[in-house]
């Protein structure tokens, strides 16, 4: 699947900013205010969300401000839709 640069989310408290760019394999660059205790879980949610959308190759930069899993899923999905042009909600 072809990927363009795309962004979703904000840097507000409780949100996460997801930036997606083309990559080889899945690389996640995570910065989080709760990395010590939840870094593992956040990476897992990002990986699973992308994989569910059929994306295995991408470079993802995630700047997290304490987002819950549902927020992370929503932001990753939105960024993926913008990156691929494939509207998962509609199609």
């Amino acid at each position: 699947m072809e990927i363009k640069n795309a962004v979703a989310g904000t840097l507000e408290s409780g949100d996460i900013l997801i930036q997606i760019a083309p990559g080889d394999g899945l690389q996640i660059d995570l910065q989080s205010s709760v990395a010590a205790q939840f870094g593992h879980q956040i990476r897992k949610v990002i990986t699973e969300t992308l994989s569910g959308l059929g994306i295995e190759d991408a470079w993802v930069k995630a700047t997290d401000k304490g987002a819950l899993d549902c927020t992370i899923r929503a932001r990753v999905t939105a960024a993926a839709v913008r990156a691929t042009g494939k509207d998962v909600w509609k199609d």
Partner: protein, 472 residues
């Protein structure tokens, strides 16, 4: 006047007989605007002092320059109620050889009065002072630059320290009355450009909230108070500085008007909210250990029923006459509450120190009804947890926990649970709240903490309550 005590800071330090290894003290009435700590410690560093113990009533973001003085060996030990900002982060990561000793405001007062915390030289900022040392947090001339109101946390230092230096930015004619600090306790007076920025005394912990969750919490807290059995004519109250706790005052006021109930006094850190109720005749007296904003400071200066009290008179456990013993209701905030009702207000769940004990354990233990108002989650950080990161207020003194998902009542207080349930409030087991939080955020990995102890939490009776470990 032949003799005055007015000298330069350097001369005051020389006269004090301060030596390496001794204890110096400060108050935090200027909160985020304090200029005294940094000024004095920089001068002590310049004069070559080493190995000093800094015993402040509290420290905040503005005290980051202490990091350099700690690295240089000027300050080697700290006692305080709290730490915030960069200094707190560095200390949490193991900056200091000796752990920081944390005490509540009442605990510090008791420790100073009993001699357990002996102060060699106190450096106390004052908004006005006369040449003999009569000092006040109130302005007394047109040239007054700063105003902090109550000097409650400085009064034990003034009374019990071996040597007292008052720093002021408004030297006024003798006699500066009414005084907070007596000239008889003061050895030197130092005039400086500024002791503090009054506009910043309401910075730090205090926020006036428009957040809908805080408003919901405030409404629930007010309903708990009104139906607790303690809301009757002549009751007394203290509120913390959290957004929800301040907003609760608004709803309590409405009920007071509706039912014709008046409070006898409000205690603790006094805010504009409390001053308003007092001026409306809804609260008889204001008992003020710390003025939390300019309105409170000005009220203290002009209103005879707005009374300053020392930290000892406020919350000492050793003095049966301290005000907390007469307190009915206290509303407090928290970083974390656990399923045994223990509270942490000092250390973030990431292990970084980011708060202050304040009067939390003092008021929780001695009041008739203590209410903790806390959201279930802050972002991904759970606030109701199986076990607090750091124990500050033991659960035995905590009666009710209010969250936006429901209210939990300590099983030690079944009569309160019954009254609230009868009033139609949703009462949950505190374990249900902890489970609910866990179900939303997932299970946190353990903190990457090390062996080194960076902080010791003392209880208000002078016993070690908990240790804070470094975060790697």
């Amino acid at each position: 006047m032949r003799n005055t005590k007015v000298v330069s800071l350097e001369e005051a330090i020389r006269r004090s007989g301060l030596q390496d290894g001794m204890t110096i003290s400060f108050h935090h009435h200027f909160r985020g605007g304090d200029k005294v700590v940094n000024l004095v410690v920089a001068k002590l560093a310049e004069m070559g002092f080493k190995d000093l113990h800094l015993a402040a009533s509290s420290l905040s973001d503005v005290h980051a320059p202490l990091i350099g003085h700690i690295k240089a060996g000027v300050i080697t030990r700290i006692s305080t109620s709290g730490l915030r900002g960069e200094l707190a982060e560095e200390i949490s990561h193991g900056l200091m050889e000796h752990p920081v000793v944390f005490r509540s405001h009442g605990g510090r007062g008791s420790a100073i009065a009993s001699g357990e915390l002996h102060i060699d030289v106190a450096f106390l900022g004052a908004s006005s002072c006369d040449p003999l040392g009569n000092a006040s947090g109130c302005p007394r001339s047109d040239s007054a630059k700063s105003i902090c109101g109550s000097l409650g946390y400085a009064l034990p230092d003034a009374r019990y320290a071996d040597h007292v230096v008052v720093l002021t930015d408004d030297l006024v004619d003798y006699p500066n009355v009414p005084k907070s600090i007596s000239a008889c306790d003061v050895e030197s007076v130092v005039v400086v450009d500024s002791v503090g920025d009054s506009s910043k005394i309401s910075s730090g912990a205090i926020r006036d909230s428009k957040n809908p969750r805080d408003i919901l919490l405030a409404q629930q807290a007010a309903r708990v108070i009104i139906n607790s059995g303690y809301f009757k004519d002549g009751f007394s109250i203290q509120t913390g500085t959290g957004g929800a706790s301040l907003a609760a005052v608004k709803y309590i006021r409405e009920s007071m008007l509706e039912r014709g109930i008046k409070a006898s006094f409000a205690l603790g850190g006094i805010t504009a909210h409390m001053v308003k109720l007092h001026e409306e005749g809804l609260i008889g007296r204001l008992v003020d250990v710390q003025s939390f904003d300019k309105v409170a400071a000005e009220s203290l200066a002009h209103d005879q029923f707005h009374q300053e009290v020392s930290a000892v008179e406020y919350a000492s456990a050793d003095h049966s006459g301290s005000a907390v013993h007469a307190l009915d209701i206290v509303i407090l905030s928290a970083l974390e509450v656990d399923t045994d009702f223990n509270v942490n207000v000092l250390v973030g769940s990431d292990g970084i120190i980011r708060g202050a004990i304040g009067g939390h354990p003092d008021t929780a233990e001695d009041s008739a009804l203590s209410i903790i108002v806390v959201p279930l989650l802050r972002g991904r950080i759970p606030c109701v947890v199986p076990k607090v990161t750091t124990l500050v207020t033991p659960g035995a003194g905590v009666d009710v926990v209010v969250t936006e998902y429901g209210i939990a009542v300590n099983p030690r207080r079944p009569e309160i649970a019954e009254r609230l349930a009868t009033a139609g409030l949703k009462i949950l087991d505190i374990k249900e709240l902890s489970d609910k939080a866990r179900s939303i955020i997932g299970k946190p990995d353990p903190l990457p903490s090390g062996e080194k102890v960076v902080g010791i939490v003392m209880d208000r009776h002078g016993r070690v309550l908990d240790e804070i470990h470094e975060v790697k």
